[in-house]
């Protein structure tokens, strides 16, 4: 089976979608970041330059991985997990790890800063897909199937939460669960885990009332406009005035220090302000296209590993996009997840493009 599939051209819809989103991202990062870059770093192009650098690096990774047969990736899974684990620990070593705004998420290597947690997304997806596609693993049995995966994920989850970086931790947990789900974890196990999780969630909420308030503030941001509701209100103040056609590229007002993180977590709001509903609907449609083609790739993958890997990669990107847009539109609580391929993201963009490379490679072996 391994050598048998016929190699075809990659899925050009995925390629086209990703390249388009990447281009939109670069333009929007520049537009959204210019003002704060000028103010904070006296350099209008600061974020643009970084975005272009990481995009080029990522495209390089994508090109390489789209030509690297995906099943060979299994060899690297264990090494990748160990290296990632070490990097996540290194974040806490002074001198290597970089602390920004009270969070230790970054490490600096040779002048470049990157987030090891971005690698974790890829590593966990690879590991989960590889493990659950093993012939000797019965997914129906909890101790064989879901448990080992959840245990490994739990370690990484805990390390990332310690940084703290709730958004990335949720994305990793979500993508892992998607693969476990797709792999066929029985519904009763899912239900049982949910039943265990609920009391824990209830305890967390009850012990610190502000958490619940913050969590629910998206329902009525104006109840506390200067604290918990601030991000969402500012986001809506960008989307609303955008209207149908937007105020015009580069002409956002909300990027003038009203909306925090206009170039990363809330870039979609600035996009909505400058390009209107036309812009937001287009970007959402592009993500839909990517999800559709990603799942199609998974469905048509020649083996279980390919199926689960493609589902994991697509799920990872799609989940992040939907959560981010959900936050920006005030539909779900603020989590701190950026918009894949669009937000200024550094290493996150790099690893996203790398995983797209893997997806493209899987699409080359699609069964007809």
């Amino acid at each position: 089976m391994r050598a048998s599939p016929k190699k075809k051209a990659p899925d050009f819809v995925i390629l086209f979608t990703v390249m388009t989103l990447l281009a939109i991202g670069i333009v929007m990062v520049f537009s959204a970041s210019a003002i704060i870059a000028l103010e904070n770093r006296a350099d209008v192009y600061f974020h643009l330059r970084r975005q272009v650098f990481w995009a080029l690096l990522g495209l390089g990774g994508m090109l390489f991985l789209s030509n690297y047969d995906y099943w060979k990736l299994k060899r690297w899974v264990n090494a990748l997990l160990v290296v990632n684990l070490l990097l996540l620990l290194a974040v806490f070593i002074p001198g290597v790890g970089v602390e920004i705004n009270g969070a230790r998420r970054w490490i600096m290597v040779g002048g470049f800063t990157g987030q090891p947690s971005d690698l974790t997304k890829v590593a966990m997806v690879l590991f989960t897909a590889a493990y659950l596609s093993r012939r000797d693993v019965n997914v129906q049995k909890f101790m064989q199937g879901a448990f080992p995966v959840l245990a490994v994920m739990g370690v990484f989850f805990a390390l990332i939460m310690a940084q703290p970086d709730l958004g990335t931790a949720i994305a990793i947990a979500g993508a892992t669960m998607i693969i476990v789900f797709v792999a066929g974890m029985p519904y009763r196990q899912i239900l049982a885990i949910a039943m265990c999780g609920l009391p824990l969630l209830g305890y967390l909420m009850a012990s610190k009332p502000y958490r619940l308030r913050r969590l629910l503030s998206f329902r009525d941001p104006w109840a506390d406009p200067l604290n918990t509701g601030y991000h969402i209100i500012q986001s809506l103040y960008a989307l609303g005035p955008g209207g149908l056609f937007g105020v015009g590229l580069g002409r956002s007002r909300q990027k003038f220090f009203y909306l925090p993180e206009p170039h990363s977590d809330f870039i979609f709001a600035i996009l909505g302000e400058e390009l209107g509903f036309i812009g937001t609907a287009s970007v959402l449609s592009l993500f839909f296209l990517l999800i559709w083609r990603g799942f199609k790739t998974a469905l048509m993958a020649p083996d279980n590993f390919g199926m689960l890997l493609a589902a994991g990669i697509t799920g990872m990107i799609g989940l992040q996009a939907l959560i981010n847009i959900g936050v920006v539109t005030g539909s779900i609580p603020v989590t701190g997840i950026n918009l894949p391929l669009i937000s200024a993201g550094g290493s996150s963009l790099f690893f996203t493009l790398c995983s797209v490379g893997v997806l493209l490679n899987i699409s080359k072996y699609a069964r007809v």
């Binding site: 609303g240 005035p241 998974a298 799609g318 539909s331």
Partner: protein, 700 residues
């Protein structure tokens, strides 16, 4: 594939399921975006605008107030306010430390203001030039100035109760308050888009909404007449120390108020330094019992109804019985006026006489005349706080009420009502609506509104009005108004001495309101003055001695100022020389009787109640309106006495006056007294020596 391996079928089924869930989520988000960006977009846009737009107020210059000859009474000078733009101030503590002493504010207060989370805050409104300059010199980033105006009144307290004053942003009393909407104009503002840190967005929209200037008021007030009136009021305030004085000067032909003032008043440039009772325009807000000046209403009504015959005889016993109650005349003490004509009833202000006249008119008719003259309702003058006054209703108006009302007791009127009622006599019978604003003009001088005289109703026939005027002229030439006589002019007038009514309607013993109402020239009345002096604390409490001379001094200057020629055909003239009556050993009450129509002014020395001495002596002939000195004693020997003013006195008179007080004179020169030491008003022990220098009139 072994059984243990993942089933491809399950994977595919689950993939489809997951895709459906994600696709549904995409759809939900699309709808959400549609809702936000297209459905509630306008709402959000409006709120966002609120957040983006900041504005600095640009205040409109307030309109000015001018007198009838366009002389400035209230204007606005440009002043600056210090504004802080907190987001732009870098070192807030340093800024607060530097600004606090210049702005005369607490450092902590300044720091609190410049640390606020808003784009602009006022640090201090309306600072003076030097302060603004000093703050400018500090050159602190984020400290700006806003051009504003500060109200000023070039003549200080002149017409202050009428003009009122302006607080920080609005007129709080007087015309400034009444005409607030006319004077204020509309504020403009500078609007700009600001960023999240309160700074102007460079390419953002900026707009300047120009302030609209306030409109100007042109008053009916004549600044010179107002000045003359207030000068005389101040003089009496000093010499007689009354609780207050009220004056209204009005053109009886039009109802235009030429001058209106109440004392004590205030300086609107620093209104807060004065008690608030002084802010209101007392001639319009105060009510009091009018007393004898109200008798003119009774007289006019009787004449109009044909119930008054000047030559008919009347006998005053000093009291009259009405419905079983005895009501006295002010001459009760000496047994009444005796047998007099009805003309003399008016000239002598005889109460039983007026009660009789009132009874002849009938209470119903009398009440309707009182109403027709404008009593009991607001005149409608364009100033705030006008009082209504109180008159009896038909039900309450029994014989006793009608009797007291006939001579001006038991009613409550405003000085303005009294003045306008007499103006109706002066102008031939028309009750006019009084007003103070002649024109409203915009800042370019275009007339926006012009007030014309307004007749409320006709009250009397011209014939009746002329007859009342004739009798009022007699009051001035030979009656109690003789001290208002101005040589060469025909003056019509009436004195009034009303006992003050305290709270609860009880008469306050020994406190009177001395009033005088008169107009000139009687043949063609152009100006009417009403004065009322509230409870003088020194000098005689008789209208003839206080309010009549005050009226004369005002009227004399106003007639000169208005270039009104003296009468060509004087009908009646007061004598030029009068004989000084012998007042020795008379009580004050008796003396008031004798002096009322004497044409002499009297000055008291001492504080007793019986006249112990006088100068000039009885029988001497002196010019009309000469001041005679009357010694009342009452100061025990060995006590301190007040040195009298001897200027203008002959050596004999000066020696006599000093003798009364137990002082000795050391004189030099001859003729009349020119200077003295100690100065008048100084308190010295009895037996002190007063040096007086005499000089011959016309000599060096």
């Amino acid at each position: 594939m072994s059984k243990a391996a993942v089933s491809g079928i399950i994977i595919k089924r689950r993939l489809m399921l997951l895709f459906v869930v994600m696709a549904a989520t995409v759809l939900a988000l699309l709808m959400r975006l549609f809702y936000i960006q297209l459905v509630i977009a306008g709402e959000l846009q409006a709120k966002a605008w609120e957040q983006w737009n900041r504005s600095i107020p640009a205040r409109s210059p307030r309109g000015s107030i001018y007198d009838r000859k366009e002389r400035l009474l209230a204007g606005s000078a440009s002043a600056q306010s210090v504004i802080a733009l907190p987001p732009q101030i870098q070192d807030k503590e340093e800024a607060a430390r530097l600004l606090a002493p210049l702005l005369e504010m607490e450092e902590s207060r300044v720091l609190e203001l410049i640390s606020r989370r808003s784009a602009t805050v006022y640090l201090k409104r309306l600072v003076d030039e030097e302060t603004a300059f000093a703050v400018r010199k500090l050159n602190i980033r984020g400290i700006a100035f806003s051009q504003e105006t500060r109200r000023f009144y070039p003549h200080g307290s002149l017409a202050s109760q009428l003009l009122g004053f302006v607080g920080i942003d609005e007129g709080l009393s007087g015309l400034e308050h009444f005409y607030e909407l006319v004077l204020k104009g509309r504020d403009g503002r500078i609007e700009f888009e600001s960023d999240g840190r309160g700074r102007r967005i460079p390419q953002g929209v900026q707009s300047y909404i120009q302030p609209k200037d306030g409109n100007d008021l042109l008053l009916t007030i004549d600044q010179t007449i107002q000045y003359i009136v207030e000068r005389e009021m101040e003089r009496v305030m000093l010499s007689s120390k009354p609780k207050g004085i009220i004056t209204i000067a009005v053109d009886p032909r039009t109802g235009e108020i030429l001058a209106i003032a109440g004392k004590p008043d205030f300086d609107p440039n620093r209104f807060a330094d004065f008690p608030s009772e002084r802010w209101k325009l007392s001639p319009v807000t105060n009510t009091f019992e009018p007393g004898s000046t109200f008798k003119l209403v009774t007289l006019a009504a009787a004449l109009e109804e044909g119930k008054f015959n000047a030559r008919e005889g009347f006998f005053c016993r000093g009291a009259i019985t009405v419905a079983g109650r005895s009501i006295g005349c002010w001459t009760r003490g000496r047994g009444g006026h005796g047998a007099i004509s009805f003309e003399k009833v008016v000239l002598g202000s005889c109460n039983p006489g007026f009660i009789t006249i009132g009874q002849r008119i009938g209470s119903e008719k009398l009440l309707s005349y009182i109403r027709a003259f404008g009593f009991g309702v607001k005149s409608g003058i364009d100033v705030p706080g006008e009082s209504t006054g109180i008159i009896f209703t038909e039900k309450q108006f029994g014989p006793v009420e009608a009797a007291t009302t006939s001579f001006g007791q038991g009613v409550s009127v405003t000085p303005l009502q009294q003045a306008m009622a007499v103006a109706a006599i002066a102008n031939g019978g028309y009750l006019m609506k009084p007003y103070v604003v002649k024109q409203v003009r915009d800042s370019e001088g275009n007339v926006l509104e012009k007030r014309e005289p307004q007749v409320v109703r006709r009250v009397l026939s011209g014939e009746t009005a002329r007859e009342v005027t004739r009798i009022m002229e007699l009051v001035v030439t030979e009656g109690s108004g003789i001290n208002a006589y101005i040589e060469g002019y025909r003056i019509a007038g009436k004195t009034g001495t009303a006992q003050k009514v305290g709270p609860g309607g009880v008469y306050i013993g020994g406190e009177y309101i001395l009033s005088f109402v008169g107009f000139a020239p009687a043949e063609d009345p152009q100006i009417l003055i009403y004065v009322a002096v509230d409870a003088p604390q020194s000098g005689p409490q008789w209208g003839s001695q206080t309010s009549a001379p005050m009226f004369r001094r005002m009227m004399e200057d106003i007639l000169k100022y208005l270039n009104i020629p003296s009468a060509k055909t004087p009908v009646n003239e007061a004598p030029r020389m009068v004989e000084v009556p012998d007042l020795m050993r008379l009580s004050l009450e008796e003396a008031s009787d004798v002096l009322e129509t004497s044409g002499l002014l009297v000055k008291f020395i001492g504080s007793g109640s019986t006249i112990l001495n006088q100068t000039p002596k009885g029988g001497a002939r002196v010019p009309l309106h000469t001041q005679i000195l009357v010694y009342l004693g009452g100061e025990a020997a060995g006590e301190e006495v007040t040195v009298p003013d001897l200027s203008g006195k002959s050596m004999r008179e000066a020696g006599e006056i000093l003798g009364w007080l137990g002082l000795r004179m050391n004189f030099s020169g001859s003729g009349i007294a020119r200077s003295q030491s100690p100065a008048p008003g100084t308190r010295v022990p009895a037996n002190s020596v007063v040096s007086v220098e005499f000089r011959n009139p016309g000599g060096p």
